[in-house]
Symmetry: C2
Subunit: 228 residues, 2 copies
């Protein structure tokens, strides 16, 4: 982190010098879904100081993890996009997210869900071996209580909607609603892990579409065992 290195000729140390700064890897995560503009990133990273976001974007660009692209129209027009080196981080970050999800129980105080949180979780926890023969599109709508406020001026989405397409033992997950989901799952944000684990109470989950697909959906994912 910082300009100060670790003094070691080591791939891991070098990686941490390059993307170990605070917020850096979350920026990379938020750009998985495609190019994003400064304001999109700021929205997906509630609480990041604007000067830090600005500094990280410049550092990550200098390093070659992302590059800025001028977009013709509309808007003032500059988006940030991952380079090939940046996309090469995806499998690593999925693994790190999978590891970290063992420390997730329910949203803590002041913790919110963002679309990138959900899409990355779906990809990280996906079990290809359990997806044989599954071919469906799922839409997930997670609502967050308005009380969960970070502070003045910090906006966040009161409902996070993402969708996932499962096909050929692979999953692709994108922010936003699906055009025609086979199953739509709506619940509170704090129930997300229960839905993935298959332990959610039916009374807490509102379904639309092919209801029988819910257990199919849950079996697609594996949550790591709790620590200890």
């Amino acid at each position: 982190m910082s300009r100060r290195g670790y003094g070691q000729f080591c791939g891991l140390a070098r990686a941490l010098e390059v993307v170990g700064d605070r917020w850096a890897l979350l920026i990379v995560r938020d750009l998985w879904g495609g190019p994003g503009r400064y304001t999109d990133l700021a929205k997906g990273l509630p609480g990041i100081p604007s000067n830090v976001l600005s500094a990280r974007l410049r550092e990550l660009e200098d390093i070659g993890v992302l590059h800025r692209v001028a977009v013709p129209r509309p808007g003032s027009g500059v988006v940030y996009e991952l380079t090939e080196d940046g996309r090469a981080l995806q499998e690593v970050l999925l693994g790190l997210g999978r590891w970290g999800s063992r420390y997730l129980t329910r949203p803590g105080d002041g913790e919110v869900l963002t679309p990138a949180c959900v899409t990355s979780a779906l990809q990280a926890l996906f079990r290809p071996e359990a997806a044989a023969g599954v071919r469906a599109t799922f839409e997930l709508a997670l609502s967050q209580p308005a009380e969960r406020i970070l502070g003045p001026g910090h906006a966040w989405l009161d409902e996070v909607v993402v969708h996932a397409r499962v096909e050929a033992r692979r999953i692709s997950s994108t922010a936003g609603p699906a055009v025609e989901p086979d199953l739509r799952i709506a619940t509170k944000a704090e129930r997300m892990l229960d839905v993935l684990a298959g332990t959610a109470s039916p009374r807490e989950v509102r379904l639309s579409g092919d209801t029988a697909l819910l257990p199919v959906f849950s079996r697609l994912f594996r949550l790591p065992a709790a620590p200890g």
Copy 2:
């Protein structure tokens, strides 16, 4: 990092809160080879302030990534050992180290090799598909120039010796010399990547044992393409 979280209910964010602090992942890396004591860690992490090492160890212990074990004899007797959750980080860190190794060219100013750097690199860059039929023990001795000094009071190893056992398409890599290596490779630290890539000049490498195994050794590893 720090006590301040990211405000997101996300596995990746949680992981970064837990092990994203500076030095934390390098401590985990240095404990792969087995339990180590405070002084061993300090030696393997040249430049880490003692208070930071102390703080990280306590934090990582609180979280459950490692735990301290009282060792009967000899010495005052306390070693740090990875827990199961800590060992679960290995594959992730190998991936991160593999990603970061694309930014390695040669040791920069003030950069040293440590045994953990070399053993983790061997494991990270190993290609199982290229190890079919290979069954051998290699010893690697990398010498570092004495001029590469970090500062007063910072000791480091002037020669890093590790060994690797390749068998059944797997590699195990350990610090220290091998009991009876099939091939011993000695060169300067700055030539390490050349040896792994198979592009080292024969004049720069001193071999002992079955010399014909050198190309076999080099083909066991793949270095990522340079960035850009």
